[in-house]
Each structure stands twice: as C-alpha cells, then as structure tokens.
Symmetry: C2
Subunit: 315 residues, 2 copies
C-alpha cells in the first residue's frame, strides 16, 4: 500500500481550505496545571459541521472528477461523517444520499437534511448500513465515500494535525487524538511523520470500544471484546488502510473509561466554555489519566467534535 | 454626575489589557438566516473568569492607589462579579474578601477560592449581603467594589463594546447587551456614543426581572413587579449612576421570556459549540424575538458569560 504523501496532504489542504475553518490553538493555564504538561488544543468542535470529519469528506468529494461526481455521493453514518459528506456535496453542488440508522438523534438527522442531503434509514447494524448504501449506489450511480478507510479521507483528516504543527512555535513532543476507525489517527500520524519528525503520536481509545489497542498489540485487525461506551463516534473498527499507517507511524494507544471521558468533558465545558462531545475529549482524557507519561512535555491534542444531544447529557 | 469620558474608557482599556482576553468576533451564516440580520457576536463567555465582569473588576481594582488597595477588596456577589474581583485581586496581589449567599453553587464558590479569595457566607438577601460586606470592610480596612454602580466598573465594562466596534469594518446599526444592574449596558452605551456615533444601543431584559424597562419608561428607578427568571445574573436593580447613563444614551429596552432564553441558549450550544449561561444570551434572544426591528441591519451582540451549573441545565 502507498500511504498518502506529504504532497498529497499539501494538495488536500489547498483543496479544502476555502471550505473549512482554520480552527485556532487554545491554551489554558489551569489545564496545564491539571495535566502537568504544556497543552495546545486544536478545537475541531468549532470546525464546519462541528467536527474534523468535514476535512476528509471535502477532500474525498472534491478529489473526484466532474464525471465521477456527477451522480452524487452515497455515505452511511449515524454521526459526523454524515454531516461531513452532506456539507461537502453542498459545496460541490451534487446530490448526497445518506443512510442513517433509524434510531439516530433527531438533531443529527435535521443537520444532515439542513445541508440538502437525502436521508434514508436502516437498522443499526454494519450489515444493514452497507446493504442500504450498496442499493442506493446501484440505483443512483453515486460514488460511495467510506468514513475512514480511504486515502483521500485520511489525507483530509491529516490537515488538522498539519495546521496544529504549523501554528506552534516548535514541534510538540506528542500529538494525541482519539481513535475509532482510524481516519484521524492515521492522518495525524502521517502529518507528524512529514511535518514534525521528532513528534510521537499517541491515541486515546474508550475501554468500551477497545479494538484499536488490541489490533495494535496483536499486529492484526481485531474486534473489541465488548462495545459499550458513551463515545458513540468511536465504535467503528480499524480498516486495512488506516491500520497499516497506524502500525508504522503510531507510538502507542491507551484507553480511558467512560467516567474519565465524562469528567474531562465536564471540565472542558465548565472551564473552556466550549461544547465538545464525549468522543471528542478522549485524547485529552488520556492525557489527564496518564499524566505520568507526559509530565513537562509539550502536547498537541485534537478535540474532535462538538455534536451532542443536549437532551441526553451525562451530567 | 459626570459620566466616564472617552479618555477614561481608553485609559481603562490600557490598564486592563494585559490581564484580559481580547475576545474574538464570531459570525454564523445560520444565525444570520435565523435572525434576518447580520450579527457580530462578542463572546465574553470566553473572557477571563468566564464573563465580562473581569473587565470592570480589574479596572476598579487597578485604578486604586497602592495605599488605597493595600488592605484588599471586599465584594458581595453570588456570581460573576465575585470571580471578577477575586481574579483582579490575584492580579494586583492583594487580599479579596468575597461575601456569597450560602446557597451559591459549589462550582462558583470553588472558582472564587481558586483565585485565592477568602469567601464568607450570608443569607441570600440584598440586606444580608451588604451587612456582611460592611462588617468585613470595617474589620479589614478593605475597599468595597460595587458590582455595577461605580464609574470605574462602568468604564471597564465599556471596553467590551469598544473592542467590538474596533474589530468591525463599519459601525453596526445597533449594539445589544443584557441589562441587570446596568454596568455593562451603561458602558456599552458610552462606547457607542464615543466610538460609533450612529450606533443605537438596545438592551434585552428577562420578563421575570423587568426593573430596567419599567425604570426606563417611568423615568425613575423602579423595582421589578416580580422576580422569577432563569437568568440569575440579571436579578439586580439599576443604580443611580447606571440609570443616568441609560436614560441619556440607550435607545430602548425589550423583554424576553425564559422560554426565549432557553431556546436561544440551546441554539448557541448546539450550533456554535460554545457554553453561554442563560443571562448571557438575553440580548441575542431579543434579536431573534424582535426580528422585525432588526431586519437587514448590522448588529453587534454581546454574549456576556458562560458560568453555568452543568448539574442543573434547563434542557
């Protein structure tokens, strides 16, 4: 496999730049005190569609030729990838066909429709989702964009870490992000490799969706022993493309509990006054939980999204 | 009475500048569509201590001579003024004695103590607060800083609107902020008067604490007919100094219900991913409620604070 190159990530960044926010770098003395490290947060909850997923979806959609994209895009997702693809298709002026599980929160369905996408529903199993997407693709001739196991998506997600590295005076000792399917993590690892050679990349993963840490330790893609976590954006399993990058360029994966996630989320909301979803704080929760690993270090930490259902908060 | 001059507001801004955030200007296409106007938000929830109150407290404390301030500062407040004074005293390196109602949320008490202030408690009545503050003043020789009816505080609060005016390409048609005791409103009105002569100032007030609108209409300081609102930062009544400025320089005051406040607060959290407290969204709720008044206009709107108790949210 040929991983996305630095040139491809640079090109992705140029391609999507007009349609994304360059999210700022946030710092907090209180957070540094809490963690015993110097932390630079990249708040992708403030990104278009409320999550970094806008980056990968835009790069995937805008990389397609006019001929390829003329029949639109199909995607399946209960969450931020759905909004990312819907937004990217709005930007490109092409149809978006989004398959969502029938129990998706109303606020997420409304948001996807708000970008002009056609939403259809299926049972909430990976098989049902894929089947519905396959059928839509067959009917419409649209192109399927995978949420993470796609080099164009990975190159798009890589631009978050690229921006963070560019905006820091010196390279951080570590870059941290959450891992679900591994799109952001593999992109982050490639950006560290190309743009900040001395920076190590560590992922945070919920204990209740611990497929990535097992896969990483075993050296083969492995399912989570059980799936039960509040971090509903991280339930997916690594793909072959994301796993290969992660094996080569990621230093370690550590796990956090739902209690760690909720505590960190509450801290962020109360102190930084920004809304970050449970999945979005997993890397920061790992920094706080494993502070011994990071004492006195410079850490870049990606807060990945802010799409929460305010009707069912954990506090 | 001699209102703070432009020179005094300029001097206040220079005095406090090293210790405050220059909060950004936020815009949202979706918000503009919702309101039918062009809105420039000033998110003072991202200010030090989580509210604009840091500005007035800093200006009051740092305006005092070393001799005046050597015994410290006394204040009473259940909310953001307490944190503002505690922070200002930490900056100045002097003692802060804060009287808080005994039923204040734990998170606010902890925040005030976090800035090194000595907290004492009293019953939650204006009389009990003032009595406790008077006694502390007597015991310690500290100076009392009123939360709003003080020209140094008003000049400090004026710097929020001053920054917003400076950061816009052209003067807005209207500046809007909430009104409680009137410190921010009178400061905003003075900044509009000095720095954006064509800009009119309108305040939003909760129906359940409608003293300012009645006072404004009657021409004399009047109590609210009843006090019951989720906007717990706006329960106070105008002072003679704030009222005089408001009578001369404010165009109008409009009221919103708690339902308006909660709906706007939810919209802001969900869409802009920032945490704003109920009192903090009152001006924006007024913009949305009275959109007929503002159609097609340029509006500067101050979001005043983000200190919420996540354990008792209204949604």
């Amino acid at each position: 496999m040929t991983f996305p190159t630095a040139n491809e990530i640079d090109a992705a960044h140029e391609r999507i730049r007009p349609y994304i926010h360059r999210t700022p770098v946030l710092t907090s003395k209180q957070l540094n005190l809490l963690a015993g490290a110097e932390i630079f947060l990249k708040p992708e909850n403030l990104q278009k569609v409320g999550a970094f997923k806008a980056r990968g979806a835009l790069n995937a959609v805008l990389s397609l030729s006019p001929e390829e994209r003329k029949n639109g895009i199909v995607a399946h997702s209960s969450g931020n990838h759905a909004q990312g693809v819907a937004y990217a298709c709005q930007v490109a002026g092409i149809p978006a066909y989004i398959v969502m599980p029938e129990n998706s929160p109303r606020v997420k369905i409304d948001a996807v429709r708000g970008y002009g996408a056609a939403v259809s529903f299926c049972e909430n199993t990976p098989q049902a989702r894929q089947k519905a997407a396959d059928q839509l693709q067959h009917e419409t001739g649209a192109v399927f964009v995978h949420p993470y196991n796609d080099y164009r998506v990975i190159a798009g997600q890589a631009t978050a870490a690229k921006e963070l590295i560019e905006d820091l005076d010196e390279d951080p000792d570590f870059l941290l992000c959450p891992v679900g399917g591994g799109g952001l993590l593999s992109g982050t690892a490639l950006s560290a490799h190309y743009y900040a050679a001395g920076t190590r990349v560590i992922a945070g993963e919920p204990e209740g969706a611990a497929d990535a840490i097992l896969s990483f330790q075993k050296g083969e893609i492995t399912n989570a022993p059980f799936v039960k976590t509040i971090a509903d954006g991280l339930l997916t399993t690594l793909g072959d493309k994301t796993f290969a990058v992660i094996q080569e360029h990621v230093t370690d994966i550590v796990t956090v509990t739902d209690a760690d996630i909720i505590e960190t989320m509450k801290w962020i909301w109360e102190r930084l006054k920004i809304v970050v979803e449970p999945s979005g704080v997993v890397a920061l929760a790992a920094v706080i939980k494993y502070k011994g690993l990071f004492r006195g270090k410079k850490l870049g930490v990606i807060l990945t999204g802010g799409n929460v259902d305010l009707g069912s908060l954990p506090f």
